[in-house]
């Protein structure tokens, strides 16, 4: 193998698994250390710079970081990254003064943001400090988009949402609430220099089965139901409720139903449990509220008698997979099952919908009626129109919308300045030596054995009475500290300098997880089999040095490195050094 080029910022970035997995690349270990140091305000700001909604995401994020967490590869559970973010948000001090404000003097450019969700708000935050005049349009009376309409208040209190939405709106954003944009043509005719579309995926999928029309009064579409509840248009539901679907929306619908009078709420999914799209913790929370989840039961028919919904008939199937891994649901031959219901909620997915964009404006649409976009710049085929969030490539999540927003903001800024929008700014990176003294590093290098701490919940008998009572209570600061200490500090990199290595083997001997090997070089596949411990996780890189005096190379398997610093501790010549790698995605405006 060729020597690893550690000057490529992506090499060490990839070692910080959580940050690498995060669509917005939030520097996770950096803020976790700040939380451990009780510097909650700074921790909050590190988050806010990167993901804009720390308090919201600390409760609702899809957490792509956690399955990636290195801790999950050496023991069962990753660090509770998401809930630590909330600790920062809950305990922070005054933050407003640390946030940039919009300058009095504008730069003369006007931007329209259509849709008031996370993508648009991110664009607003990134562009407002640069002096852009920003107009935000939303058909509801408040900003927040799906964060407000689709996430129930028992998971995300309104006060938290308002606070973080307002940090942005107070940057001099011109809001046009209760204003449904019904024509892109009209928007283009106004004097905006650029238009950003962040309208999400607002159309819930329907399920056309016998009885659908007759029972329409008691058959609801999931996201519409959640929005109606959020805006207090609906405040009760029948005693017996069936939720069709296995995603996070289904989980929110069933738990909401429990709070609106549903005593017997059942979730029914057509496929096996393993294929449910809902996050495991949301499934767990639903089950904790006495909601059974039945699987392998596709619905066949809504049963309506005398104009009244009686229930749903389900077929029983099992999943079979062909050699390409494609699934087929095969009837088991068991008799169909009838489940009684007063109401049924269909939560089987949502789609983009752009009925308001005229198709003769030069904005091309491709497969699934999704706009044709440049994957990097988010620019549509009409140069001044940009898309982001769920509106761009279909439904994802909040953190992805934020990441889109940052990139779209850069594109809009470049576009408005007449620069090449494909000339993207490089990330900011920094690599700094961390030794403080003998056995002393700037970070807690000792690896704690603690297992993941559980977030305490409010008592069920209380939470089920009121949909606005938050279920999760968040870590208190002492537990937050303990959980923070579980972080392995993967951003403190093991940096190897071949020219100073005397090949004494001290690092090989001390490494608790046998990551380091000195051996003859070879092809990657061959090398992976010849290391101190087998390097079977191919998603993790091998760090290979230049050839050493004994004609061998140092090979480090990054997979389960604990970043404990013992290799550097035992290195007599500091050929190994622990250096903090900070990687920060460049934003349109400098926030911190």
């Amino acid at each position: 193998m060729k020597p690893t080029n550690i000057n490529n910022p992506e090499y060490f970035h990839k070692v910080v698994d959580c940050q690498y997995a995060c669509p917005a690349h939030t520097p996770v270990p950096e803020y976790i250390r700040l939380i451990a140091a009780e510097r909650y305000t700074e921790a909050y700001m590190v988050n806010w710079e990167s993901n804009v909604f720390p308090g919201i995401l600390g409760r609702t994020c899809d957490r792509p970081c956690e399955p990636a967490c290195r801790r999950g590869r050496i023991e069962e559970e990753p660090v509770a990254i998401c809930r630590l973010k909330r600790v920062a948000a809950d305990n922070k001090g005054e933050v407003k003064s640390r946030m940039p404000q919009a300058p009095e003097k504008k730069n003369g450019k006007k931007i329209a943001l259509i849709g008031g969700g996370p993508a648009s708000l991110t664009v607003a935050r990134d562009l407002a400090p640069l002096g852009y005049e920003i107009h935000l349009y939303d058909d509801w009376h408040k900003g927040g988009g799906m964060m407000r309409s689709q996430i129930p208040a028992f998971r995300l209190p309104e006060s938290v949402l308002d606070e973080e939405v307002n940090y942005i709106l107070e940057m001099g954003i011109h809001t046009h609430f209760n204003h449904y944009v019904s024509s892109m043509k009209e928007m283009l005719e106004k004097d905006y220099d650029a238009i950003f579309v962040g309208t999400g995926a607002p159309k819930g999928r329907d399920l056309i089965l016998p009885g659908r029309e007759e029972g329409a009064k008691n058959i609801h579409i999931g996201i519409e139901f959640l929005a109606n509840v959020a805006f207090s248009h609906v405040d009760k539901i029948g005693k017996k409720v069936i939720i069709l679907g296995g995603g996070n929306t289904a989980m929110d619908c069933c738990r909401t139903s429990r709070r609106l009078g549903g005593d017997e709420v059942t979730v029914v999914v057509r496929s096996p449990f393993e294929e449910m799209k809902a996050s495991p913790w949301e499934i767990e929370d639903a089950r904790a509220e006495d909601i059974p989840i039945l699987n392998n039961m596709p619905p066949k028919e809504f049963v309506v008698e005398n104009g009244r919904l009686k229930g749903v008939i389900f077929e029983k199937v099992r999943a079979e997979y062909d050699e390409n891994g494609r699934r087929k649901l095969v009837p088991t031959g068991e008799p169909d099952v009838f489940i009684e219901a007063d109401d049924v909620i269909i939560a089987i997915g949502q789609d983009n919908a752009f009925p308001w964009i005229e198709r003769d404006l030069g904005i091309e649409f491709g497969k699934w009626d999704i706009p044709v976009l440049d994957k990097v710049s988010f620019q549509s085929t009409l140069p001044q129109v940009f898309f982001g969030g769920d509106a761009a490539f279909g439904p994802e999540n909040i953190i992805t919308a934020v990441a889109h927003g940052h990139q779209a903001a850069i594109s809009i800024d470049l576009y408005c300045q007449g620069k090449d929008i494909l000339d993207r700014p490089s990330p900011m990176t920094n690599l700094i030596h961390q030794k403080m003294g003998i056995h002393e590093w700037s970070y807690d290098s000792a690896v704690v054995d603690d297992l993941r701490y559980k977030v305490p919940h409010e008592v069920k008998s209380i939470t089920l009475t009121n949909r606005k009572i938050e279920v999760e209570l968040g870590f208190d600061p002492p537990t937050g500290f303990k959980e923070a200490q579980r972080c392995l500090n993967c951003d403190i990199q093991t940096v190897f300098t071949a020219s100073t290595c005397i090949e004494c083997d001290a690092c090989v001997d001390i490494c608790p997880t046998s990551c380091i090997t000195f051996t003859e070089n070879g092809e990657e596949e061959d090398l992976r089999t010849r290391l101190s411990a087998p390097a079977e996780n191919k998603t993790q890189d091998l760090y290979v040095s230049e050839v050493l005096p004994t004609k061998r190379v140092m090979v480090k398997d990054e997979d389960v490195c604990l970043h404990c610093g013992l290799c550097a501790e035992r290195c007599p010549t500091s050929a190994w050094d622990m250096q903090k790698f900070l990687y920060n995605v460049t934003k349109a405006s400098k926030i911190l």
């Binding site: 003998i438 002393e440 807690d444 054995d449 005397i502 004494c504 083997d505 608790p512 389960v560 501790e569």
Partner: protein
Amino acid sequence: MTYIKPKFRHPGLKRNKIGFAKSDYEGAISTLCAGCGHDSISGAIIQACYEMAIEPHHLAKLSGIGCSSKTPTYFLGNSHGFNSVHGRMPSIATGANLANRDLIYLGVSGDGDSASIGLGQFCHVLRRNLNMVYIVMNNGCYGLTKGQDSATADPGSVSKEGSNNAFQAIDLVGLSLELGATFVARSFSGDKKQLVPLIKAAMSHPGFAFLDIISPCVTFNNNPGSTKSYDYVREHIAATSRLDFVPEEKEITVSYEEGTSASVRLHDGSLIHLQKLSPHWDPTDRDSAMNHLQKAKSHGEILTGLLYIDPHSGDLHQLLDTVAQPLNTLREKELCPGRAVLEEINAEYR
């Protein structure tokens, strides 16, 4: 300040055939200088014991005084240990071995402990062919007292403060060949590929197995001009052979080129296979070993590898014709034959 070895180990590492993980053979975290050769030797001992699936309670570590003699704390934390008096480890080992012949005895000593204060003890335990592994972690200096030249420092070797050593060196390998040792090897702390099979072979040898391991003192004797520095040893090393240790129950699966290899079968059925790098050398011929050692020395080379082995070695218990049962388990029943036998014996003299 934290200096704690984490408990987590690589999840892909296998357990050995008696169900122990490699970490079960580790000890406390080392307090020796960073980069000390001794730590590498500890690592090789851990590796060898893990691979040989030695039951930790079936081994006793014995040492004297010095940096080297501290190391038993840093390996085999679940085994017996005795950190004895300076240069007196052989006496303790002899006593322990006579009392319980069933344990594996692993003596760890240094050049000060064995070649100076304990030279007499070293010679005597060797000529008695006590069944033990005797490792000398040889760094040519007194590291624990700030690096004065030791008795194994080569003449002319430059110390860290710049003085040339004026005295002749005691070559413990030459000495042990001369005194009739039955297993003599030299190795280098920085070459685990050679060291691990040598330790395994030494542990299988019935009798005194001597391992002189050059182990650079990274703090006081790793300077230019020193003949025991990492760089110097690497540049001047010459190996007798590439060595494989094949445990008794394993079949030999590697095919060796004829004429260049030699095999020595140990009494327990294990096999030491040597891929000879020098065609005229016979590992079971003491004269050949001494010749080669001298020749290498005059060429300024450090000869490493297994230098000599007596496959017919009989250890001290065999020489003394002791009973097979460990002496410390003999109780009154075995030791006192009873009145009837006494009467019989007395009758013989009447």
